[in-house]
Amino acid sequence: MSGGSDERIPVGPQHPSLKEPANFMLDVDGEEITGADLTLSYNHRGMEEAAQRKDYLQNIYLLERICGICSHSHTTAYVQAVEELMDVEVPDRAKYIRTLIGELERLHSHLLWLGVGGHEMGFDTLWHYAWRDRELVLDSLEELTGNRVHYAINTLGGVREDVEEDQFPMLRENLEEVKERAAYYAEVVPEEETVLMRCEDVGVISRETASELCAVGPTARASGVPTDVRKEDPYAAYDQLDFDVITHTDGDLLARVIVRLEEIVESCKIVEQVLDDMPEGDITGANRPTHTLSNMVEEGEAISRYEAPRGEDLHYVKSDGTDTPERVKVRAPTMANWPTVVEGLKGSYIADTPMIVAGIDPCISCTARIGVEVTGDAAVSIDGGDRKLSLDDLSDYAKDWYGQEVN
Protein backbone atom coordinates (compact mmCIF):
# COMPACT_ATOMS: atom_id res chain seq x y z
CA MET A 1 0.00 0.00 0.00
CA SER A 2 2.83 2.53 0.69
CA GLY A 3 3.64 4.25 -2.60
CA GLY A 4 7.11 5.10 -3.73
CA SER A 5 6.90 8.63 -2.32
CA ASP A 6 9.55 9.90 0.00
CA GLU A 7 7.29 11.04 2.80
CA ARG A 8 5.27 9.01 5.30
CA ILE A 9 3.13 11.26 7.52
CA PRO A 10 1.42 9.90 10.69
CA VAL A 11 -1.91 11.66 11.34
CA GLY A 12 -3.88 11.46 14.59
CA PRO A 13 -4.64 9.78 17.03
CA GLN A 14 -5.54 12.79 19.09
CA HIS A 15 -7.43 14.19 16.13
CA PRO A 16 -10.37 16.43 16.94
CA SER A 17 -12.41 15.72 13.84
CA LEU A 18 -12.60 12.03 14.51
CA LYS A 19 -14.47 11.71 17.76
CA GLU A 20 -12.66 8.41 18.28
CA PRO A 21 -8.94 7.57 18.20
CA ALA A 22 -7.81 6.13 14.87
CA ASN A 23 -4.39 6.71 13.41
CA PHE A 24 -3.79 7.13 9.68
CA MET A 25 -0.42 6.97 7.95
CA LEU A 26 -0.56 8.91 4.70
CA ASP A 27 2.06 8.49 1.98
CA VAL A 28 2.26 11.87 0.41
CA ASP A 29 3.73 12.94 -2.89
CA GLY A 30 3.18 16.70 -2.81
CA GLU A 31 -0.53 17.40 -2.70
CA GLU A 32 -1.46 13.89 -3.84
CA ILE A 33 -1.94 11.07 -1.40
CA THR A 34 -0.37 7.99 -2.93
CA GLY A 35 -1.00 5.51 -0.15
CA ALA A 36 -2.63 5.24 3.25
CA ASP A 37 -2.56 2.83 6.15
CA LEU A 38 -4.22 2.79 9.53
CA THR A 39 -3.85 1.41 13.03
CA LEU A 40 -6.89 0.96 15.22
CA SER A 41 -5.29 -0.19 18.43
CA TYR A 42 -6.37 2.88 20.35
CA ASN A 43 -9.90 1.67 20.86
CA HIS A 44 -9.11 -1.99 21.37
CA ARG A 45 -10.76 -3.22 24.57
CA GLY A 46 -10.54 -6.98 24.16
CA MET A 47 -14.23 -7.80 23.71
CA GLU A 48 -14.00 -11.20 22.13
CA GLU A 49 -11.58 -12.57 24.66
CA ALA A 50 -13.87 -11.40 27.44
CA ALA A 51 -16.92 -12.81 25.63
CA GLN A 52 -15.40 -16.26 26.01
CA ARG A 53 -15.40 -15.84 29.79
CA LYS A 54 -19.02 -14.75 30.16
CA ASP A 55 -22.18 -16.82 29.65
CA TYR A 56 -24.63 -16.20 26.81
CA LEU A 57 -26.86 -13.85 28.79
CA GLN A 58 -24.00 -11.71 30.15
CA ASN A 59 -22.62 -11.46 26.62
CA ILE A 60 -25.74 -9.61 25.50
CA TYR A 61 -24.84 -6.86 28.01
CA LEU A 62 -21.19 -6.88 26.92
CA LEU A 63 -21.69 -6.94 23.13
CA GLU A 64 -24.19 -4.12 23.40
CA ARG A 65 -21.30 -1.91 24.54
CA ILE A 66 -19.26 -2.48 21.40
CA CYS A 67 -20.57 0.74 19.94
CA GLY A 68 -22.72 3.52 21.29
CA ILE A 69 -24.52 4.19 18.00
CA CYS A 70 -25.35 0.70 16.71
CA SER A 71 -25.74 -1.19 19.99
CA HIS A 72 -29.07 -2.73 18.97
CA SER A 73 -27.49 -4.12 15.76
CA HIS A 74 -24.87 -6.06 17.69
CA THR A 75 -27.26 -7.51 20.27
CA THR A 76 -29.84 -8.53 17.65
CA ALA A 77 -27.23 -10.17 15.43
CA TYR A 78 -25.69 -11.99 18.43
CA VAL A 79 -29.07 -13.09 19.81
CA GLN A 80 -30.23 -14.36 16.39
CA ALA A 81 -27.05 -16.46 16.09
CA VAL A 82 -27.56 -18.00 19.55
CA GLU A 83 -31.26 -18.61 18.91
CA GLU A 84 -30.27 -20.73 15.90
CA LEU A 85 -28.42 -23.00 18.34
CA MET A 86 -31.28 -23.05 20.83
CA ASP A 87 -34.12 -24.22 18.52
CA VAL A 88 -36.47 -21.67 20.13
CA GLU A 89 -39.23 -20.07 18.02
CA VAL A 90 -39.18 -16.25 18.27
CA PRO A 91 -42.81 -15.01 18.20
CA ASP A 92 -43.83 -12.56 15.47
CA ARG A 93 -44.49 -9.69 17.86
CA ALA A 94 -40.92 -9.89 19.19
CA LYS A 95 -39.64 -9.83 15.59
CA TYR A 96 -41.68 -6.72 14.87
CA ILE A 97 -40.40 -4.97 18.00
CA ARG A 98 -36.81 -5.80 17.06
CA THR A 99 -37.39 -4.37 13.57
CA LEU A 100 -38.98 -1.24 15.06
CA ILE A 101 -36.01 -0.53 17.35
CA GLY A 102 -33.57 -1.43 14.56
CA GLU A 103 -35.05 1.08 12.11
CA LEU A 104 -35.26 3.82 14.78
CA GLU A 105 -31.57 3.19 15.42
CA ARG A 106 -30.85 3.57 11.70
CA LEU A 107 -32.73 6.87 11.73
CA HIS A 108 -30.76 8.34 14.62
CA SER A 109 -27.48 6.99 13.24
CA HIS A 110 -27.99 8.53 9.80
CA LEU A 111 -29.04 11.87 11.29
CA LEU A 112 -25.96 11.73 13.52
CA TRP A 113 -23.76 11.13 10.50
CA LEU A 114 -25.40 13.98 8.56
CA GLY A 115 -24.53 16.29 11.45
CA VAL A 116 -20.96 15.07 11.84
CA GLY A 117 -20.49 15.33 8.05
CA GLY A 118 -21.66 18.93 8.25
CA HIS A 119 -19.26 19.60 11.13
CA GLU A 120 -16.37 18.13 9.15
CA MET A 121 -17.14 20.62 6.39
CA GLY A 122 -17.38 23.46 8.87
CA PHE A 123 -21.10 23.69 8.13
CA ASP A 124 -22.06 23.79 11.83
CA THR A 125 -25.61 24.95 11.23
CA LEU A 126 -26.38 21.66 9.47
CA TRP A 127 -24.81 19.88 12.45
CA HIS A 128 -27.09 21.63 14.91
CA TYR A 129 -30.20 21.16 12.78
CA ALA A 130 -29.59 17.44 12.11
CA TRP A 131 -28.87 16.70 15.77
CA ARG A 132 -31.89 18.70 16.91
CA ASP A 133 -34.12 16.45 14.78
CA ARG A 134 -32.24 13.42 16.03
CA GLU A 135 -33.46 14.27 19.54
CA LEU A 136 -36.99 13.41 18.35
CA VAL A 137 -35.87 9.90 17.43
CA LEU A 138 -34.07 9.56 20.76
CA ASP A 139 -37.28 10.60 22.52
CA SER A 140 -39.15 7.83 20.73
CA LEU A 141 -36.47 5.30 21.70
CA GLU A 142 -36.51 6.49 25.29
CA GLU A 143 -40.31 6.17 25.31
CA LEU A 144 -40.13 2.58 24.06
CA THR A 145 -37.08 1.24 25.87
CA GLY A 146 -36.34 3.66 28.72
CA ASN A 147 -32.82 4.59 27.60
CA ARG A 148 -31.45 6.96 24.95
CA VAL A 149 -28.41 4.92 23.98
CA HIS A 150 -28.14 1.28 25.07
CA TYR A 151 -31.69 -0.05 24.77
CA ALA A 152 -31.21 -3.58 26.25
CA ILE A 153 -34.42 -4.75 24.60
CA ASN A 154 -33.12 -8.09 23.27
CA THR A 155 -32.96 -11.34 25.17
CA LEU A 156 -32.49 -14.96 24.12
CA GLY A 157 -35.75 -15.98 22.46
CA GLY A 158 -37.43 -12.58 22.12
CA VAL A 159 -37.58 -9.12 23.67
CA ARG A 160 -37.71 -7.99 27.27
CA GLU A 161 -40.29 -5.23 27.06
CA ASP A 162 -43.59 -4.92 25.26
CA VAL A 163 -44.84 -1.81 23.43
CA GLU A 164 -48.31 -0.45 24.18
CA GLU A 165 -50.84 0.91 21.74
CA ASP A 166 -50.98 4.31 23.47
CA GLN A 167 -47.28 4.93 22.73
CA PHE A 168 -47.89 4.81 19.00
CA PRO A 169 -49.48 8.30 18.50
CA MET A 170 -46.35 9.97 19.93
CA LEU A 171 -44.11 7.80 17.72
CA ARG A 172 -46.11 8.61 14.61
CA GLU A 173 -46.00 12.31 15.36
CA ASN A 174 -42.20 12.28 15.80
CA LEU A 175 -41.90 10.26 12.64
CA GLU A 176 -43.95 12.76 10.63
CA GLU A 177 -41.65 15.56 11.80
CA VAL A 178 -38.47 13.58 10.98
CA LYS A 179 -39.77 12.62 7.53
CA GLU A 180 -40.57 16.23 6.71
CA ARG A 181 -37.12 17.37 7.93
CA ALA A 182 -35.39 14.62 5.94
CA ALA A 183 -37.21 15.73 2.79
CA TYR A 184 -36.06 19.32 3.50
CA TYR A 185 -32.42 18.19 3.88
CA ALA A 186 -32.62 16.02 0.76
CA GLU A 187 -33.75 19.08 -1.17
CA VAL A 188 -31.36 21.67 0.35
CA VAL A 189 -28.05 19.95 1.16
CA PRO A 190 -27.12 18.57 -2.29
CA GLU A 191 -27.78 22.04 -3.82
CA GLU A 192 -25.74 24.16 -1.37
CA GLU A 193 -22.71 25.63 -3.13
CA THR A 194 -20.03 25.17 -0.47
CA VAL A 195 -21.23 21.62 0.24
CA LEU A 196 -20.79 20.85 -3.45
CA MET A 197 -17.32 22.35 -3.39
CA ARG A 198 -16.31 20.00 -0.57
CA CYS A 199 -18.20 16.84 -1.64
CA GLU A 200 -18.63 16.59 -5.38
CA ASP A 201 -16.39 13.93 -6.94
CA VAL A 202 -14.23 13.72 -3.81
CA GLY A 203 -13.03 10.29 -2.68
CA VAL A 204 -14.68 8.58 -5.66
CA ILE A 205 -15.07 4.79 -5.42
CA SER A 206 -16.11 2.99 -8.61
CA ARG A 207 -18.55 0.11 -8.51
CA GLU A 208 -15.83 -2.45 -9.34
CA THR A 209 -13.54 -1.21 -6.56
CA ALA A 210 -16.40 -1.21 -4.07
CA SER A 211 -17.33 -4.82 -4.77
CA GLU A 212 -13.67 -5.88 -5.07
CA LEU A 213 -12.83 -4.39 -1.67
CA CYS A 214 -15.99 -6.01 -0.24
CA ALA A 215 -17.50 -2.71 0.87
CA VAL A 216 -20.86 -2.90 2.66
CA GLY A 217 -23.85 -0.73 3.50
CA PRO A 218 -24.45 2.86 2.30
CA THR A 219 -20.78 3.15 1.22
CA ALA A 220 -21.25 0.28 -1.25
CA ARG A 221 -24.75 1.32 -2.26
CA ALA A 222 -23.52 4.84 -3.10
CA SER A 223 -21.18 3.26 -5.65
CA GLY A 224 -23.94 1.22 -7.24
CA VAL A 225 -23.51 -2.14 -5.47
CA PRO A 226 -27.07 -3.17 -4.43
CA THR A 227 -26.16 -5.05 -1.25
CA ASP A 228 -28.65 -4.93 1.67
CA VAL A 229 -28.92 -7.80 4.14
CA ARG A 230 -32.56 -6.90 4.85
CA LYS A 231 -33.37 -7.96 1.27
CA GLU A 232 -30.68 -10.59 0.65
CA ASP A 233 -31.07 -12.61 3.84
CA PRO A 234 -34.19 -11.24 5.60
CA TYR A 235 -34.23 -11.56 9.37
CA ALA A 236 -36.69 -10.38 12.08
CA ALA A 237 -39.80 -9.07 10.31
CA TYR A 238 -38.18 -7.77 7.11
CA ASP A 239 -39.64 -10.49 4.90
CA GLN A 240 -43.16 -9.20 5.68
CA LEU A 241 -42.30 -5.56 4.94
CA ASP A 242 -41.90 -3.83 1.60
CA PHE A 243 -39.18 -1.20 1.13
CA ASP A 244 -36.65 -0.63 -1.61
CA VAL A 245 -32.84 -0.54 -1.59
CA ILE A 246 -31.48 2.93 -2.33
CA THR A 247 -28.50 2.99 -4.63
CA HIS A 248 -26.62 5.72 -6.43
CA THR A 249 -23.99 5.53 -9.12
CA ASP A 250 -21.40 8.31 -8.75
CA GLY A 251 -19.72 6.80 -5.68
CA ASP A 252 -18.44 10.18 -4.46
CA LEU A 253 -19.08 11.84 -1.11
CA LEU A 254 -22.18 13.58 -2.42
CA ALA A 255 -23.68 10.22 -3.44
CA ARG A 256 -23.08 8.93 0.09
CA VAL A 257 -24.90 11.95 1.53
CA ILE A 258 -27.86 11.47 -0.83
CA VAL A 259 -28.11 7.69 -0.23
CA ARG A 260 -28.23 8.21 3.54
CA LEU A 261 -30.81 10.99 3.26
CA GLU A 262 -33.12 8.81 1.15
CA GLU A 263 -32.58 5.91 3.52
CA ILE A 264 -33.89 8.09 6.34
CA VAL A 265 -37.17 8.51 4.44
CA GLU A 266 -37.23 4.76 3.67
CA SER A 267 -36.74 3.88 7.33
CA CYS A 268 -39.61 6.16 8.29
CA LYS A 269 -41.85 4.20 5.89
CA ILE A 270 -40.71 0.91 7.41
CA VAL A 271 -41.43 2.10 10.94
CA GLU A 272 -44.92 3.19 9.86
CA GLN A 273 -45.61 -0.24 8.37
CA VAL A 274 -44.39 -1.91 11.59
CA LEU A 275 -46.63 0.31 13.71
CA ASP A 276 -49.62 -0.32 11.43
CA ASP A 277 -49.57 -4.10 11.43
CA MET A 278 -47.86 -4.96 14.75
CA PRO A 279 -49.23 -8.48 15.50
CA GLU A 280 -50.60 -9.54 18.89
CA GLY A 281 -49.04 -12.34 20.91
CA ASP A 282 -46.43 -12.81 23.60
CA ILE A 283 -42.98 -11.31 23.34
CA THR A 284 -40.66 -14.27 24.07
CA GLY A 285 -40.64 -17.82 22.81
CA ALA A 286 -38.52 -19.35 25.57
CA ASN A 287 -41.04 -19.88 28.37
CA ARG A 288 -38.36 -20.61 30.97
CA PRO A 289 -36.87 -18.40 33.71
CA THR A 290 -34.29 -16.15 32.05
CA HIS A 291 -31.30 -17.31 34.11
CA THR A 292 -31.69 -20.86 32.84
CA LEU A 293 -31.67 -19.79 29.18
CA SER A 294 -27.88 -19.98 28.87
CA ASN A 295 -27.87 -23.75 29.37
CA MET A 296 -30.36 -24.35 26.52
CA VAL A 297 -27.67 -23.71 23.91
CA GLU A 298 -26.69 -26.94 22.13
CA GLU A 299 -23.26 -27.63 20.69
CA GLY A 300 -22.68 -26.20 17.21
CA GLU A 301 -21.89 -22.98 15.38
CA ALA A 302 -24.00 -20.29 13.72
CA ILE A 303 -23.48 -17.17 11.64
CA SER A 304 -25.96 -14.32 11.62
CA ARG A 305 -25.95 -11.21 9.44
CA TYR A 306 -27.68 -7.92 10.22
CA GLU A 307 -27.99 -4.68 8.22
CA ALA A 308 -26.56 -2.17 10.69
CA PRO A 309 -26.76 1.56 9.82
CA ARG A 310 -23.23 1.36 8.40
CA GLY A 311 -23.58 -1.96 6.62
CA GLU A 312 -23.49 -5.71 7.06
CA ASP A 313 -22.70 -6.72 10.65
CA LEU A 314 -21.68 -10.39 10.98
CA HIS A 315 -21.68 -12.46 14.20
CA TYR A 316 -20.23 -15.98 14.40
CA VAL A 317 -20.92 -17.97 17.55
CA LYS A 318 -19.48 -21.41 18.28
CA SER A 319 -20.74 -23.23 21.35
CA ASP A 320 -19.39 -26.37 23.00
CA GLY A 321 -22.63 -27.23 24.85
CA THR A 322 -21.65 -25.40 28.05
CA ASP A 323 -23.24 -22.11 29.10
CA THR A 324 -20.28 -20.01 27.85
CA PRO A 325 -19.51 -19.68 24.13
CA GLU A 326 -16.26 -21.20 22.87
CA ARG A 327 -15.71 -18.47 20.28
CA VAL A 328 -17.54 -15.25 19.46
CA LYS A 329 -16.41 -13.40 16.32
CA VAL A 330 -17.87 -9.98 15.55
CA ARG A 331 -17.09 -8.27 12.23
CA ALA A 332 -18.52 -4.77 12.35
CA PRO A 333 -19.44 -2.97 9.14
CA THR A 334 -16.76 -0.27 9.50
CA MET A 335 -14.00 -2.88 9.31
CA ALA A 336 -15.25 -3.83 5.85
CA ASN A 337 -15.30 -0.18 4.75
CA TRP A 338 -11.78 0.79 5.86
CA PRO A 339 -10.20 -0.42 2.55
CA THR A 340 -12.58 1.86 0.63
CA VAL A 341 -11.35 4.81 2.71
CA VAL A 342 -7.77 3.95 1.79
CA GLU A 343 -8.77 3.63 -1.87
CA GLY A 344 -10.76 6.89 -1.71
CA LEU A 345 -7.79 8.75 -0.22
CA LYS A 346 -5.48 7.81 -3.02
CA GLY A 347 -5.17 10.57 -5.55
CA SER A 348 -7.28 13.04 -3.57
CA TYR A 349 -6.38 16.29 -1.82
CA ILE A 350 -4.81 16.03 1.58
CA ALA A 351 -7.26 18.59 2.92
CA ASP A 352 -10.15 16.26 2.00
CA THR A 353 -8.94 13.47 4.24
CA PRO A 354 -11.26 14.23 7.18
CA MET A 355 -14.23 14.35 4.84
CA ILE A 356 -13.37 11.10 3.05
CA VAL A 357 -12.80 9.34 6.36
CA ALA A 358 -16.11 10.66 7.67
CA GLY A 359 -17.72 9.54 4.38
CA ILE A 360 -18.01 5.93 5.46
CA ASP A 361 -19.38 7.03 8.83
CA PRO A 362 -16.59 5.18 10.68
CA CYS A 363 -17.45 3.62 13.99
CA ILE A 364 -14.07 2.85 15.44
CA SER A 365 -15.40 1.24 18.59
CA CYS A 366 -16.91 -1.47 16.40
CA THR A 367 -13.77 -2.40 14.62
CA ALA A 368 -11.20 -2.68 17.36
CA ARG A 369 -12.33 -5.27 19.84
CA ILE A 370 -10.05 -8.29 19.48
CA GLY A 371 -9.17 -10.36 22.49
CA VAL A 372 -5.62 -10.35 23.89
CA GLU A 373 -4.20 -12.33 26.86
CA VAL A 374 -1.59 -10.38 28.86
CA THR A 375 1.10 -12.38 30.57
CA GLY A 376 3.42 -9.57 31.71
CA ASP A 377 3.23 -5.80 32.13
CA ALA A 378 4.91 -4.44 29.00
CA ALA A 379 6.80 -1.15 29.32
CA VAL A 380 4.50 1.69 28.30
CA SER A 381 6.24 3.60 25.49
CA ILE A 382 5.16 7.18 24.75
CA ASP A 383 5.62 7.91 21.05
CA GLY A 384 8.18 10.67 20.80
CA GLY A 385 8.24 13.82 18.71
CA ASP A 386 8.22 12.17 15.31
CA ARG A 387 6.45 14.19 12.65
CA LYS A 388 2.89 13.76 13.91
CA LEU A 389 0.96 16.24 11.86
CA SER A 390 -2.71 16.87 12.00
CA LEU A 391 -4.75 16.11 8.89
CA ASP A 392 -4.62 19.55 7.40
CA ASP A 393 -1.09 20.28 8.51
CA LEU A 394 -0.14 18.64 5.27
CA SER A 395 -1.65 21.16 2.87
CA ASP A 396 1.00 23.59 4.11
CA TYR A 397 3.61 20.96 3.34
CA ALA A 398 2.17 20.83 -0.15
CA LYS A 399 2.52 24.58 -0.54
CA ASP A 400 6.30 24.41 0.12
CA TRP A 401 6.54 21.40 -2.19
CA TYR A 402 4.73 23.28 -4.97
CA GLY A 403 7.01 26.26 -4.29
CA GLN A 404 10.11 24.23 -5.18
CA GLU A 405 8.26 22.79 -8.19
CA VAL A 406 7.42 26.19 -9.69
CA ASN A 407 10.70 28.14 -9.51
Partner: protein
Protein backbone atom coordinates in the same frame (compact mmCIF):
# COMPACT_ATOMS: atom_id res chain seq x y z
CA UNK B 1 -29.62 -20.11 -8.41
CA UNK B 2 -30.73 -21.44 -5.00
CA UNK B 3 -28.46 -23.00 -2.43
CA UNK B 4 -28.93 -26.64 -3.48
CA UNK B 5 -28.06 -26.01 -7.12
CA UNK B 6 -24.99 -24.03 -5.98
CA UNK B 7 -23.95 -26.84 -3.64
CA UNK B 8 -24.31 -29.42 -6.40
CA UNK B 9 -22.34 -27.23 -8.81
CA UNK B 10 -19.50 -26.75 -6.31
CA UNK B 11 -19.31 -30.47 -5.64
CA UNK B 12 -18.88 -31.50 -9.24
CA UNK B 13 -16.61 -28.57 -10.18
CA UNK B 14 -14.05 -28.82 -7.41
CA UNK B 15 -14.95 -32.12 -5.76
CA UNK B 16 -11.28 -33.12 -5.53
CA UNK B 17 -10.36 -30.04 -3.53
CA UNK B 18 -12.88 -30.39 -0.77
CA UNK B 19 -13.70 -33.19 1.66
CA UNK B 20 -17.36 -32.44 2.39
CA UNK B 21 -20.09 -29.85 1.88
CA UNK B 22 -22.81 -29.23 4.43
CA UNK B 23 -26.11 -27.31 4.27
CA UNK B 24 -27.11 -25.54 7.48
CA UNK B 25 -29.79 -22.86 7.49
CA UNK B 26 -31.29 -21.86 4.12
CA UNK B 27 -28.64 -20.11 1.99
CA UNK B 28 -25.72 -21.40 4.10
CA UNK B 29 -23.22 -23.76 2.45
CA UNK B 30 -20.08 -24.96 4.18
CA UNK B 31 -17.12 -26.34 2.28
CA UNK B 32 -14.18 -28.04 4.04
CA UNK B 33 -10.88 -27.51 2.21
CA UNK B 34 -8.56 -30.36 3.02
CA UNK B 35 -5.22 -28.88 1.95
CA UNK B 36 -4.67 -25.24 3.14
CA UNK B 37 -2.06 -24.60 0.44
CA UNK B 38 -4.79 -24.68 -2.24
CA UNK B 39 -6.71 -21.80 -0.67
CA UNK B 40 -5.88 -19.46 -3.55
CA UNK B 41 -7.12 -22.03 -6.04
CA UNK B 42 -10.52 -22.41 -4.42
CA UNK B 43 -10.78 -18.62 -4.05
CA UNK B 44 -10.14 -18.19 -7.78
CA UNK B 45 -12.89 -20.70 -8.49
CA UNK B 46 -15.39 -19.05 -6.14
CA UNK B 47 -14.74 -15.49 -7.37
CA UNK B 48 -15.12 -16.85 -10.93
CA UNK B 49 -18.59 -18.07 -9.95
CA UNK B 50 -19.57 -14.61 -8.71
CA UNK B 51 -19.00 -15.39 -5.03
CA UNK B 52 -16.74 -12.36 -4.64
CA UNK B 53 -17.71 -10.69 -1.35
CA UNK B 54 -15.52 -11.86 1.56
CA UNK B 55 -17.44 -10.96 4.72
CA UNK B 56 -14.62 -11.87 7.10
CA UNK B 57 -12.13 -14.53 8.18
CA UNK B 58 -12.81 -16.15 11.57
CA UNK B 59 -9.83 -17.63 13.35
CA UNK B 60 -10.04 -20.14 16.21
CA UNK B 61 -7.40 -22.16 18.06
CA UNK B 62 -8.86 -25.63 18.70
CA UNK B 63 -5.82 -26.96 20.59
CA UNK B 64 -3.91 -28.78 17.86
CA UNK B 65 -4.21 -26.43 14.92
CA UNK B 66 -5.71 -23.09 13.95
CA UNK B 67 -9.09 -23.31 12.18
CA UNK B 68 -9.73 -20.59 9.61
CA UNK B 69 -13.20 -19.89 8.24
CA UNK B 70 -13.51 -17.75 5.10
CA UNK B 71 -17.10 -16.44 4.93
CA UNK B 72 -17.82 -15.67 1.25
CA UNK B 73 -21.01 -14.19 -0.19
CA UNK B 74 -22.63 -14.46 -3.60
CA UNK B 75 -23.01 -10.84 -4.51
CA UNK B 76 -26.38 -9.30 -5.31
CA UNK B 77 -25.38 -7.65 -8.59
CA UNK B 78 -24.77 -11.04 -10.24
CA UNK B 79 -28.54 -11.46 -9.99
CA UNK B 80 -29.20 -8.08 -11.56
CA UNK B 81 -30.12 -4.88 -9.74
CA UNK B 82 -32.81 -4.98 -7.09
CA UNK B 83 -33.34 -8.73 -7.13
CA UNK B 84 -31.28 -9.66 -4.13
CA UNK B 85 -33.44 -12.55 -3.02
CA UNK B 86 -30.97 -15.46 -2.84
CA UNK B 87 -27.47 -14.21 -1.89
CA UNK B 88 -25.97 -17.48 -0.67
CA UNK B 89 -23.17 -17.62 1.92
CA UNK B 90 -20.34 -20.11 1.25
CA UNK B 91 -18.01 -20.70 4.24
CA UNK B 92 -14.65 -22.27 3.41
CA UNK B 93 -13.19 -24.04 6.45
CA UNK B 94 -9.52 -25.02 6.56
CA UNK B 95 -7.01 -26.02 9.24
CA UNK B 96 -3.45 -24.73 9.62
CA UNK B 97 -1.06 -26.69 11.89
CA UNK B 98 -0.03 -24.61 14.91
CA UNK B 99 3.57 -25.75 14.58
CA UNK B 100 3.97 -24.06 11.18
CA UNK B 101 1.11 -21.51 11.06
CA UNK B 102 1.55 -20.46 7.45
CA UNK B 103 -0.96 -19.99 4.61
CA UNK B 104 -1.02 -18.10 1.31
CA UNK B 105 -2.57 -14.69 1.34
CA UNK B 106 -5.59 -14.28 -0.97
CA UNK B 107 -5.26 -10.47 -1.31
CA UNK B 108 -4.50 -10.63 -5.04
CA UNK B 109 -7.65 -12.65 -5.69
CA UNK B 110 -9.83 -10.86 -3.10
CA UNK B 111 -8.27 -7.42 -2.31
CA UNK B 112 -10.78 -6.91 0.51
CA UNK B 113 -9.11 -9.66 2.56
CA UNK B 114 -6.08 -7.51 3.49
CA UNK B 115 -7.41 -6.15 6.80
CA UNK B 116 -9.00 -9.44 7.88
CA UNK B 117 -5.72 -11.27 7.33
CA UNK B 118 -3.83 -8.63 9.30
CA UNK B 119 -6.32 -9.13 12.13
CA UNK B 120 -5.58 -12.88 12.13
CA UNK B 121 -1.82 -12.17 12.03
CA UNK B 122 -2.23 -10.02 15.13
CA UNK B 123 -4.45 -12.30 17.20
CA UNK B 124 -3.41 -15.82 16.18
CA UNK B 125 0.07 -15.40 14.88
CA UNK B 126 -0.73 -17.09 11.54
CA UNK B 127 1.69 -15.97 8.81
CA UNK B 128 0.10 -14.98 5.51
CA UNK B 129 2.54 -15.52 2.61
CA UNK B 130 2.67 -12.58 0.19
CA UNK B 131 0.53 -10.13 2.20
CA UNK B 132 1.25 -6.58 0.86
CA UNK B 133 1.65 -4.92 4.26
CA UNK B 134 1.41 -7.22 7.25
CA UNK B 135 2.25 -4.72 10.02
CA UNK B 136 0.34 -4.42 13.29
CA UNK B 137 -3.31 -3.39 13.05
CA UNK B 138 -4.96 -3.91 16.39
CA UNK B 139 -2.43 -4.52 19.11
CA UNK B 140 -1.11 -1.56 21.19
CA UNK B 141 2.29 -0.20 20.05
CA UNK B 142 3.95 -1.39 23.22
CA UNK B 143 2.86 -5.01 22.57
CA UNK B 144 6.18 -6.71 23.15
CA UNK B 145 7.49 -9.53 20.95
CA UNK B 146 7.59 -11.78 23.98
CA UNK B 147 3.87 -11.48 24.65
CA UNK B 148 1.96 -14.41 23.09
CA UNK B 149 -0.35 -13.70 20.11
CA UNK B 150 -3.78 -13.12 21.59
CA UNK B 151 -6.20 -15.98 21.27
CA UNK B 152 -3.76 -18.85 21.28
CA UNK B 153 -4.94 -21.29 23.91
CA UNK B 154 -1.60 -22.68 25.05
CA UNK B 155 -1.04 -19.48 27.03
CA UNK B 156 -2.96 -20.04 30.29
CA UNK B 157 -4.63 -16.75 31.35
CA UNK B 158 -2.72 -16.49 34.60
CA UNK B 159 -3.53 -13.59 36.81
CA UNK B 160 -6.44 -12.16 34.77
CA UNK B 161 -9.09 -13.27 37.30
CA UNK B 162 -11.77 -15.28 35.51
CA UNK B 163 -15.14 -14.36 36.96
CA UNK B 164 -17.73 -17.04 37.68
Amino acid sequence: MDADELKAQIEDDIGDLITETRRGRPRRIEVVLEDPDRIVEIMEYLTGEGIKHLSTITGRDDGTDVELLYHMLQYGEEQGDGDLGDANMVTVRTFVPKGTPRIDSITDVVPGAALYEREIIDILGVEFEGHPNPDQLLLPDDWGEDEAPPLLKDEEPDEAEVDD
